[in-house]
Symmetry: C2
Subunit: 250 residues, 2 copies
């Protein structure tokens, strides 16, 4: 089976690496950004092109959501399988006469961070059983956690990830604003953060909740509100505490 | 120096353990809850009492914020040092003629979770230099990260911790509600969560932000809002995205 990866961003880079590390041959990495492609090609030892899309059995489109439809039109072939890697779009966004699929790795990708690919969950969807199996096999060659998933389900996966990852990172960013303002090294909070995320491996997050809101400690809540000078920080502070109280019926 | 720990909760337990593991003798653990004290005493091999507070040079009060003042009145001695372990109260909450101090470990404590005490930051405050040094030495016998801190600063430390830990845990709890509703194992999100928290060790959280809001992806934001059925989840979703947009001036 000939595989072509389309895209030159972080998802393309990490998928290319994951495949080659697991001895899955990739025929080409194709994209617009020649210098990015060159870098990936050198590191992962793959042929690349930014002009000539190679013939393949499977195209994996690893570009931003807004570009998937346009990029998918570059594939003029009918007898092939095309999958995008977006968590938030249906496979029908792909525009062509080929068989359509979704191949969604649930991970946040940065070029500078090494990943243990075996741990990354993959969610698969395709038009027919054979294609599902093909993509499942492919994902299982990288990862130990592969699940078939409808588009509907994938939307909730993405939403869960936004809460558990994007918003969590933003809380770190807001927390650092506060500690920076007092010249307290943000490093000092890393053990606490590690403990917070370690704890949910053995305890349901609902049962691991600590802090003033779950203790219904109005004195501390009020004192904190007085301490916060930034409007966005204050909005977050209030909404999160209200939500904690609602969850524990306080 | 004779040390007595007052309290029988998670902070008392972990401080008792941290001291004995580091060969700092503790004379007594004192509290109201006899069965808790018994459990700690058996595990950590310390004498305990729920009736007779022993004479000591240093009392460490490890009880909930609301009880510190009352508990501190049990110490009738003048010539001793008394420290509480709260992040959110001044040392003046202590009521007695002894020297007052704060000995604040920045960590979330659960009895069931083992901790690397060497990594836990301690923030110290006392009335005079000698007591500051005494508490600093004591904290440094446990931890590598000890900092002198005023009450004012401690309030911001606590506030930062609420954002980076309590609220983060609550996001995990809300995220799990969403994944549970679709029968997606919450386990699948643990690598993503680990990656999110690993990333901030090498990258400032502000520069590690991903997700629809920082991409200003109105389509996904709107689709997610339509997907969310729970009122509290929706409030969090909106406030966090607004705050992300504000931070990146989108």
């Amino acid at each position: 089976m000939k595989i072509v990866i389309i895209g030159s961003g972080n998802v393309a880079y990490h998928l290319a690496r994951a495949f080659t590390e697991n001895k899955i041959p990739v025929s080409q990495i194709f994209g617009r950004n020649k210098s990015n492609l060159q870098l990936i090609s050198e590191e992962v030892h793959l042929p690349y092109s930014h002009t000539q899309l190679e013939d393949a059995d499977l195209y994996l489109i690893c570009v931003s959501d807004g570009s998937i439809s346009d990029v998918s039109k570059l594939i003029k072939k009918d007898n092939c399988l095309v999958a995008h890697t977006s968590g938030s779009l249906p496979k029908e966004i792909l525009t062509g006469n080929y068989r359509k699929a979704s191949f969604y790795p649930l991970q946040t990708f940065s070029k500078s961070v090494d990943l243990n690919y075996a741990e990354i969950p993959f969610f698969i969807e395709a038009e027919n059983k054979k294609d599902v199996e093909l993509l499942q096999d492919l994902a299982e060659s990288i990862s130990e956690k592969v699940m078939v998933s409808t588009y509907e389900k994938r939307k909730y996966i993405h939403l869960t990830a936004v809460f558990a990852c994007n918003f969590v990172n933003h809380l770190f960013a807001r927390a650092k604003e506060i500690s920076d303002s007092q010249e307290i090294p943000f490093d000092y909070f890393l053990p606490l953060i590690k403990e917070t995320t370690d704890k949910i491996k053995i305890l349901e997050p609902k049962f691991a909740q600590t802090g003033p809101a779950v203790r219904n400690d109005e004195r501390v809540l009020k004192a904190h509100e007085d301490l916060i000078k930034d409007e966005e920080q204050l909005k977050i502070y209030k909404v999160m505490n209200e939500s904690i109280k609602e969850m524990y019926e306080l």
